[in-house]
């Protein structure tokens, strides 16, 4: 029903352009130089960190258009991301290119989601630009405690010389992220999420990235198009209830982002919900007391996302996130009621 492209009547094809050296009309902004002073012991880590910071800088350039493909299991998901800055206001437009329309518009204080056949809705505040992890735009500070940054070798990706930078977890409770960055410009060319068995669980392939001085025509239109004024803004109630359930164990560095009780859209079952993040990875925890026929344990995965459900005391605990199955199992075993209704394990 709703479709941003219809609203702006822009007969705008996606900005695929051959990235392979042909940068007509695109202007690369200078990226930071590598610091000369590094102690011998830290030099490898620092160097990897410098490469990552350079990548973060590229994702913060004011105007660019990026096309990429995300591959999870057998699902290919091509999408485009277009970013523009007008009068210091940032806009980001994301368009999923296969299947029924899905578009996201980050504009001002709101992020609006347009899906085929669903009423559009909006949320307030900054959000990461899915499917890129928040760290790609916010930076990697604060991840040192839980991840190491390691220089890998050189190879050829998308026709360009590429430097591999590995983000490895310090414990077994997370996946690795391997990034191939353009050796000259530092931009992302490819990102793989690897499990503890070194199997690739998810793959992000950048097809093109164009930087421009000025925002594109599409962005200019999106900046001013009046959106329907009956789009609901989903927001939290001002007073949060205290947590009904607590986690006895989580991997180091995970912090609570939000929690509530709500109904699952697909099955209408009310659940207690909590969301945790370490800055790179998100974990959702569901407590479902409305399951009539419980199975003792179910494990599954979708791309890099692990699903684990566990029955205990007549209810189902579900852990969803890009974490190894053993970690999800461990979290599930350490969930207990907050008000002393049960024994803390």
């Amino acid at each position: 029903m709703w479709n941003l492209m219809v609203l702006i009547k822009a007969n705008k094809s996606v900005l695929f352009s051959s990235y392979n050296g042909a940068l007509r009309g695109a202007v690369f902004v200078i990226l930071i130089a590598i610091s000369p002073w590094v102690s011998a012991a830290d030099s490898a880590t620092n160097e990897a960190r410098v490469w990552l910071d350079r990548m973060v800088q590229s994702f913060n350039q004011p105007n660019y258009s990026l096309s990429l493909i995300r591959i999870q299991q057998q699902q290919y998901e091509p999408l485009m991301i277009e970013r523009g800055t007008i009068d210091q206001h940032e806009l980001v437009y994301v368009n999923y290119l296969n299947g029924p329309e899905r578009e996201v518009l980050h504009r001002g204080d709101l992020v609006t989601y347009f899906h085929h056949d669903v009423t559009p809705y909006a949320v307030r505040g900054e959000r990461p630009i899915d499917p890129l992890p928040a760290s790609f735009t916010n930076g990697f500070d604060g991840l040192d405690d839980d991840y190491r940054f390691i220089m890998g070798g050189r190879s050829r990706v998308m026709g360009r010389p590429a430097q591999l930078v590995r983000i490895e977890p310090r414990d077994d409770n997370r996946f690795s992220l391997w990034l191939w960055l353009d050796a000259e410009q530092g931009i992302l060319l490819r990102a793989d999420t690897l499990g503890p068995d070194d199997q690739t669980r998810e793959h992000l392939q950048v097809m093109s990235m164009n930087f421009t001085r000025e925002p594109s025509a599409l962005i200019r239109q999106l900046a001013s198009v009046p959106l329907p004024n009956d789009i609901p803004i989903i927001g939290a109630l001002p007073h949060q209830e205290p947590l009904a359930w607590k986690c006895g164990w989580l991997p180091h560095g995970f912090k609570l982002v939000g929690h509530d009780q709500h109904k699952l859209g697909l099955t209408q079952q009310p659940v207690h919900y909590q969301l945790y993040t370490d800055g790179l990875v998100n974990i959702s925890i569901y407590i479902n007391t409305h399951v009539s026929r419980l199975s003792s344990q179910v494990e599954g995965s979708y791309g890099a996302t692990t699903v684990f459900t566990h029955a205990a005391d007549g209810m189902e605990i579900a852990i969803i996130g890009n974490i190894p199955i053993a970690t999800a199992q461990r979290i599930a075993k350490h969930i207990y009621p907050a008000n002393g209704g049960g024994e803390k394990p």
Binding site: W2, V6, K9, N11, S13, V14, L15, F16, S17, Q75, H89, Y96, G99, R102, T112, V118, T119, Y121, A122, D130, D145, R148, R170, D171, G195, A223, S224, V225, P226, P232, I233, I234, G235, A236, L237, Q240, L243, G248, W249, P251, K255, V257, G258, H262, L264, G265, L266, Q268, P270, L275, S284, N288, S292, R293, S295, E299, G300, S301, Y302, T309
Partner: protein, 214 residues
Amino acid sequence: MTDKHESLSALMDGDVDLKALDRLLSSADEQESWTNYHLIGQAMRDELPARIDMTLADRISAAIAEEPTVLAPQAKPKTDSARQPAYGKVIPFLRHAGQYAIAATVAAFAVVGVQQYAVQQDSGTGDSSPVVQTIPLIGGAAPVSASLGTAKVLRIPADEQQSTQQRLVEQRMRINAYLQDHELQMRMQQQADQPGQQQDDVEYVEPDGAHQGE
């Protein structure tokens, strides 16, 4: 035929002739010519995009035809819309009704290959060891993910089969429900700027064995 081409060219050059415009808007042939002329022009000026979507205009037309009210937003005075999109009411998370005011549909997940451990207490053979069955979930006609290993044969007495079947179906639905909701929640739950965001509500316990710094 010639003067049709001529008037099309004139239109392209910006000479507005209302009659020609009407004709263009109502004739599929003319529209195709219009598209082709523009493509030719772009090709000559080397402005062709690397990929040309010949159907985009058609799709847009079809979509416009379905939703006529969407077209032609009234020309509003250009306000600070870059900063203040004009949206309406805020809908808080509904706590007791517990329903988000939107349908939680994101991409249809085809979760393939779920290993289910079920302890069969009363199976006909008296075997109560855990059995493993790999089941495809909704939408997943694809083969089982190799990373989940092999499945053992599930032995269920006939009278248990139906309820097991039902349980599996419900299980499938729930898994998909969790996955969809997880995607949705990662967008919804962002309360960093809420005062009193309790991080101390979580009792974090160090994992067994010292966490390694490096």
